[in-house]
């Protein structure tokens, strides 16, 4: 690991020499570190790239695929340690805050104030995109995680009524089981277990979600209500198939698409899989909020975190930030990506029904104060605490802990991770 760091350092400084020579010739350039390498994501990012190139700014791509950005963050460490950070870096939640604390991020104030970002970007997102009152990141989109994707055919066979609360959900799952399909398509990876847990906790009340995940109140984390949340997880586990462990989320989506499974509880990136399979929202699949969470949204937002760069690159950086927040980019990007715009004033005309619902729900949750960062996706607690929670959730889901022990372990793990 340390060897890598030093090699990165040396490589980084070698690159610096190359840049200074080339940037002056090109006039303006941005170097972008990201992990959007899969088909749909790359296509979405291409929208931004084209827009910048039409403004005469060269795009230097630095894709580091894999691990939900973990590999990218490792590469970033080397670049920052070398004193040569990229212009913009795709980043999530508390990673942005962690980097901001290192004092290496830039300031987007010039653009943000002129364009009035404060008014159009939801406050919950601003908590991450701003640090000490300064804009440091440009939010690209908002994914929400408390979605359920149901196969229309399986739902019709199970009575056709969309479940609106926990009991109705269980009734539908039971009927699907009786109909001989896997009721719940799920992949047994810690982050997927946690994604469902997000929604389950939210379904027990927005105050409870806030107390447990945002405020990390030990009483909420280890209390009776948390035991109930774990009981609900255990109940949901009884509806997954035997081979769930280790399965990737898109394979779980495929099970719903092929009709082998009834539903999947997953963030709205799952929609892309349905659309790719030529399925239509409303006729082939149904998108609903996790039963009992309508009106509240747990979000996960991709942002481009901007680093402190030399004056020669500053103009390109600000142009990029401005482009990201332009309503037409927000619309065209998010239609492709499956998420919803990060500003609340973008028209929803280009979006499909699920997208329209997502935009409406986001605006509603934002104004009612029920928009919360997703714990599972690093928008509620820092990485160390998040992963401590993952450990407990996934151990419980895999039957290593019972619900009471899990609630106790959750409170202890969070306390230990904070220490």
């Amino acid at each position: 690991m340390l060897r890598k760091l030093l090699i990165g350092t040396m490589l980084g400084s070698a690159l610096t020499v190359g840049y200074t020579a080339s940037t002056y010739a090109a006039g303006g350039s941005v170097e972008v570190l990201h992990w959007w390498t899969s088909g749909g994501e790359a296509a979405a990012l291409d929208v931004l790239k084209k827009k910048l190139e039409s403004q005469g700014i060269t795009w230097k791509d630095m894709p580091v695929a894999g691990g939900g950005g973990e590999a990218a963050m490792t590469a970033l460490r080397a670049r920052v340690t070398a004193g040569d950070p990229p212009t913009a870096v795709q980043a999530l939640g508390f990673d942005i805050t962690d980097w901001a604390k290192q004092g290496v991020v830039g300031d987007l104030g010039d653009v943000a104030n002129k364009e009035g970002w404060d008014k159009v970007i939801p406050t919950a997102l601003q908590n991450f995109a701003k640090h000490d009152g300064k804009w440091i990141a440009a939010p690209v989109n908002v994914h929400s995680t408390n979605w359920v994707w149901i196969s229309k055919k399986a739902l019709d066979a199970a009575g056709g009524k969309v479940p609106e609360n926990w009991d109705e959900l269980i009734a539908v799952l039971d009927k699907m089981k009786a109909n001989g399909i896997t009721p719940l398509a799920h992949g047994g990876q810690a982050w997927q277990d946690a994604t469902i847990f997000d929604a389950v906790v939210l379904s027990l009340g927005t105050d409870f979600y806030k107390a447990a995940f945002i405020d990390n109140d030990p009483k909420a984390l280890g209390g009776d209500k948390m035991v109930e949340a774990f009981d609900r997880m255990a109940k949901l586990k009884s509806y997954v198939d035997k081979d769930f462990s280790g399965r990737d989320w898109n394979l779980a989506s495929a099970m719903v698409i092929e009709g082998k499974a009834g539903m999947q509880m997953m963030g709205d990136w799952a929609k892309g899989e349905f659309l790719k399979a030529k399925q239509k929202p409303g006729t082939d699949f149904v998108c609903i909020r996790f039963p009992g969470t309508q009106g509240a949204v747990t979000f996960n937002s991709d942002m481009f975190m901007m680093f402190k760069v030399g004056d020669d690159k500053k103009a390109g950086q600000l142009t990029m930030a401005s482009d990201i927040e332009s309503p037409d980019f927000q619309s065209s990007f998010n239609v492709v990506k499956g998420s919803v715009p990060a500003r609340t004033d973008v028209p929803d005309t280009a979006f499909d029904d699920c997208g329209k619902k997502g935009i409406k729900d986001l605006a509603e949750a934002n104004s009612s104060g029920k928009l919360f960062g997703s714990m599972a996706h690093g928008y509620a607690v820092p990485a160390a605490v998040k992963n401590a929670m993952y450990d407990v959730i996934t151990r419980h889901f895999n039957g290593e802990l019972d619900s009471k022990a899990a609630a106790k372990a959750l409170a202890e793990a969070v306390a230990a991770a904070k220490g």
Partner: protein
């Protein structure tokens, strides 16, 4: 002291001799410097990090003493990792040695086609642990692998789902690792067996010893140095076990197959707990030293006596 005066005298007498004396040192200096910085320098750097409060980046402004080590040994995942390491390394080393020795003895019976069989057993060693891991992951996956095939050819009740079972998953990693390494151990033993003096065996035969007795009382005891080498090679592979676990289970189901190396990587880079990651790396290094140092002592120190 005496050497230095002699060199100085020689240098004064003959510049050519000086050059001859210095040349090996000059040639070796770069690699020596590289090892000094990149191996020992970074070991020291990691040790320093493990006492710091480093989170995202190395941070030498906050010092937490032994706190990282205290938190490490209070962390359930680290305890799981240590237990897994114990299960994995004991089984891996024992089973590999037994299979390796057995294969070597069978191959040593002057059989026909040895030239063909030997590379077949050795071949898995040519694969990386990642390839082995992915192949075994698919092979053991109940949905597509062994269980699926057995059930689809008619053995309906066949069940083998260890890789999905938190209590048994670590044993599937042992299976894959043994498959990969036992051929290599076989090659080591084969070389050892070929080195046994035929005279001893003939003498034993004349004394009327059975083949079993010859192996049990003479040949296997003669393999002692090979056992030791195999142990050292396998033990450090076991402690470093990372790629195989990542490819096969990535620590799952749950946290059931975490190993110390996986812990180090996940904490340092995934959880922004660089201090704790460094502490776990130091503990791992101490475990390896605990194996290597006595070995080197017995190998190098023993001969001098």
């Amino acid at each position: 002291m005496a050497d230095a005066t002699m060199t100085a005298r020689a240098a004064a007498a003959n510049p050519r001799a000086t050059l001859q004396d210095l040349l090996p040192k000059i040639v070796l200096a770069p690699s020596f410097a590289v090892i000094l910085i990149f191996v020992y320098g970074f070991i020291a750097f990691t040790a320093v990090l493990s006492f710091s409060g480093s989170k995202l980046l190395p941070d030498f402004s906050t010092w937490v003493g032994l706190n990282n080590y205290v938190r490490l040994f209070n962390h359930p995942n680290w305890i799981t990792a240590l237990q897994n390491l114990a299960i994995f390394s004991i089984l891996y080393i024992v089973v590999c040695s037994v299979i390796g020795l057995a294969l070597a003895i069978f191959l040593d019976q002057k059989i026909r086609g040895e030239g063909l069989l030997r590379p077949i057993y050795l071949y898995p060693m040519a694969l990386s642990f990642i390839v082995t891991g992915v192949a075994w992951k698919w092979f053991l996956d109940p949905g597509i692998g062994l269980e699926h095939v057995m059930q689809s050819i008619g053995w309906e009740s066949f069940s083998f789902r260890w890789i999905k079972d938190g209590k048994m998953a670590i044993y599937t990693i042992v299976i894959a690792a043994v498959w990969q390494s036992s051929g290599f151990v076989m090659a080591m033993f084969l070389a050892g067996l070929r080195g046994v003096d035929n005279e001893i065996i003939k003498a034993a035969q004349i004394d009327g010893a059975s083949t079993m007795t010859i192996y049990r009382r003479i040949i296997i005891p003669l393999m002692r140095p090979v056992f030791l080498s195999a142990f050292v090679v396998l033990a450090h592979l076991a402690i470093k076990s990372y790629d195989l676990v990542v490819a096969m289970t990535d620590g799952g189901p749950g946290t059931a197959t975490w190993t110390p190396a996986l812990f180090m990587q996940k904490f340092t880079f995934g959880r922004n707990e660089m201090g704790m990651g460094a502490a776990s790396a130091i503990i791992m290094m101490m475990m390896i030293f605990a194996i290597i140092v006595p070995y080197l002592y017995s190998e190098l120190g023993g001969k001098k006596k």
